[in-house]
Subunit: 411 residues, 2 copies
């Protein structure tokens, strides 16, 4: 009987640990086929550094319930890209370690780059006749993975963005006697899914956020200023949501900002696209402007978990274990949405080679009004993904999280 090992890689999402819990829970249930469950600390780095932990103590402990809603990557993460050349000595070294641990099932939860790891490891295993099953579980707040209707992690991040922008819009409206512009900078350098989700903050047509700019459409500073100026003639407070990755076709806005250098201390003041536009508006339109970077809260705040997202993340893990037990390898679990009315999801697997190194961006037909707004079709797409609340375990008024104990497996 073989063991199962799990790794997490890339930036966390609010539900990346739910996927891990899904894998662990199903692996425990499949104890006739799976002997032990291991975790690699900091992804494949953990294999190379002998940082492997035994996850079996989680069995029946109730701790899994707590881990499910704990942000961050419970097992730690890495941003390690394996060499293209499968002849590289790192591959036999990795598999030697996995063989020592009698690993028959290898699970990697991550985005594009992590699926690249799944692809390479599974190809190497097939090439060398190693029967290990290598499986990818999708994860990213950016929603930019191909082959799946959406990615676990996106729904909760979209819900955070929408709720927060709705609160910011109310906050921005309190001084209605002074004109003001509020820029909200949202994650997703190349894909505008998360930025587009800010449209859900709009309670009614014509409401804030009045302008939304995704990075798929080239951004014109002059057209932008013109639009803002026109809006300010009719409403006093404008909230604008932008992707951190706005560019004019050649240069990222944040690069313009980064060209700024201090002449006092010689420190380079880095700033994002939001800060750049804030300054542009102050300088050109002479109105009050501020920018707000939603920053890492988008990927780590557990206050706006979508129950739909949390359940799908968990189920992706469960489904992956079942697929691996059926003999699948080199595959990623994917979500398929029923074309029937009402929201329903079916799980499947897709060839990981069709996923890795591909970036799924927001369809251009969902970007409207010269790139300054998002269509109703996107709203229909995203709305089901943010549904359902999750009650967080609390302790002394604050969310209670689970912290990993460093229980290394003896060498």
């Amino acid at each position: 009987m073989k063991n199962l090992i799990i790794g997490q890689s890339g930036g966390p999402t609010p539900v990346i640990n739910a996927s891990m819990c899904g894998i662990i829970t199903e692996a425990f249930d499949q104890s006739r086929y799976i002997q032990k469950v291991y975790g690699m600390v900091n992804g494949i780095e953990g294999i190379l550094n002998h940082q492997i932990i035994d996850l079996d103590p989680l069995k029946g402990s109730g701790e899994l319930e707590l881990i499910k809603t704990t942000p961050g990557s419970y097992l730690g993460s890495c941003r390690c890209k394996l060499p293209e050349d499968l002849e590289d000595p790192i591959y036999p070294k990795l598999f030697e370690e996995l063989d020592k641990l009698a690993v028959g099932y290898f699970f990697y939860i991550g985005g594009n780059d992590s699926m690249d790891t799944v692809s390479k490891l599974s190809r190497y295993a097939l090439k060398t006749g190693n029967p290990i099953k290598i499986m990818g579980i999708p994860k990213t707040i950016d929603n930019d993975l191909a082959g799946t209707d959406h990615t676990p992690g996106f729904g909760s991040a979209a819900k955070y963005v929408a709720s927060t922008v709705r609160s910011i819009s109310i906050d921005a409206s309190v001084y209605s006697s002074t004109k003001s512009v509020t820029i909200v900078e949202i994650m997703g350098r190349h894909a505008g899914w998360l930025t587009a989700s800010s449209i859900l903050a709009r309670q009614s047509k014509g409401d804030n956020p009045m302008l939304i700019y995704a990075p798929e459409s080239p951004f014109s500073q002059e057209a932008f200023l013109e639009k803002v100026e026109r809006i300010l003639k009719t409403v006093p407070n404008v909230v604008i949501c932008i992707s951190e990755g706005l560019h004019d076709g050649n240069t990222f806005l944040c690069e313009y900002a980064e060209m700024a250098k201090t002449d006092t201390f010689g420190h380079k003041m880095l700033a994002g696209a939001g800060k750049y536009l804030e300054n542009l508006i102050k300088k050109r339109l002479h109105v009050k402007a501020r920018s707000i970077e939603l920053n890492v809260c988008q990927r780590c705040t557990p206050f706006s978990l979508s129950a739909t997202d949390l359940n799908e993340a968990f189920s992706s893990g469960v489904y992956g274990v079942l697929a691996a037990l059926k003999g699948e390898t080199g595959r990623m679990v994917a979500l398929s949405r029923s074309p029937q009315p009402g929201y329903s999801i079916r799980y499947k697997t897709v060839d990981v080679d069709t996923v890795c190194n591909v970036e799924k961006t927001l369809p251009l037909q969902w970007i409207i009004k010269d790139g300054s707004d998002i269509s109703d079709d996107f709203i229909a797409y995203v709305k089901p993904l943010i549904q359902g609340s999750v009650e967080l375990p609390l302790e002394d008024g604050l969310p209670k999280f689970s912290y990993r104990q460093t229980l290394a497996v003896p060498d």
Copy 2:
């Protein structure tokens, strides 16, 4: 029978509307003494601009329940300071408008500057023999009002800061193989109450946030760098919470940052204390650093409402109406904490003149370790204020807010 009018002023808090709801609810209950309830749009500006709304339609509508958890200032806000000279023509003008509306009870919800307005208006009324009762209801996330144990708004903001820093600390720990510094910049330019609250994020001693800097203690950049360097020798990821108002005794850190000028486009790149320290650490310690500004979310996020805070905000409003009916004027409602074990609050009023233009800062004895940490006494002080959860009304997966209808009172 006289009418009651309510205004909100200064920056919002997550519970400023709960105080308004407390006043309105009690005023409706006291219909034998109070005829109508009005709201001034954008504080006293609304009186001068004839922007007064009739709040009576809220009676029995269920809308008050929704307004209670809606962020922002329902009535709009202003930052208007009345002239020191009570002979100024603005005073008779204001009271003429109030008399036209038959206002007998004037309520102003706000912080320092708003209490200054309460003071001036009540002194003018006494001087001119106007029997109107003028009452202040405390509000500020900064907790810097004198005469009260704490201010409504602070508890929920402190809870937001603590929860968010706890999530950020988990997020910061996922790449444990790379050293990193995360700076979290927290509101409160002169008072460190909110920054200090980040200590609640620490789940156990020695945990992140490892350093906390309030603005009451002068900040030394060299001592700071030394401390960070020493910590990085033993742990890989450090989270540091700082007040936006850090200064070295002469100059605010953000002013150092603001001295930076761009030489490319001539835009002045404004940045805060957090960004400044991020750059300082990168330059001097050569480690990965990032900064996160919690920004307006501290005062507008309804996801981390403290039930204790929400109830106290509401009760402050209720108590204010009772005090005004008893004939009090020129007073602010204040919270008095019982010295007995267990947390209990008694409401009282204090002379508004002892409150306005005074800034209550964090006691220096609660700032320890050369200004880099906060004492357990503060924890004992703040912990009761964040207790209890509030279930938010949701619609389509997002918090449902109440938007004010512009129902002007006919001239």
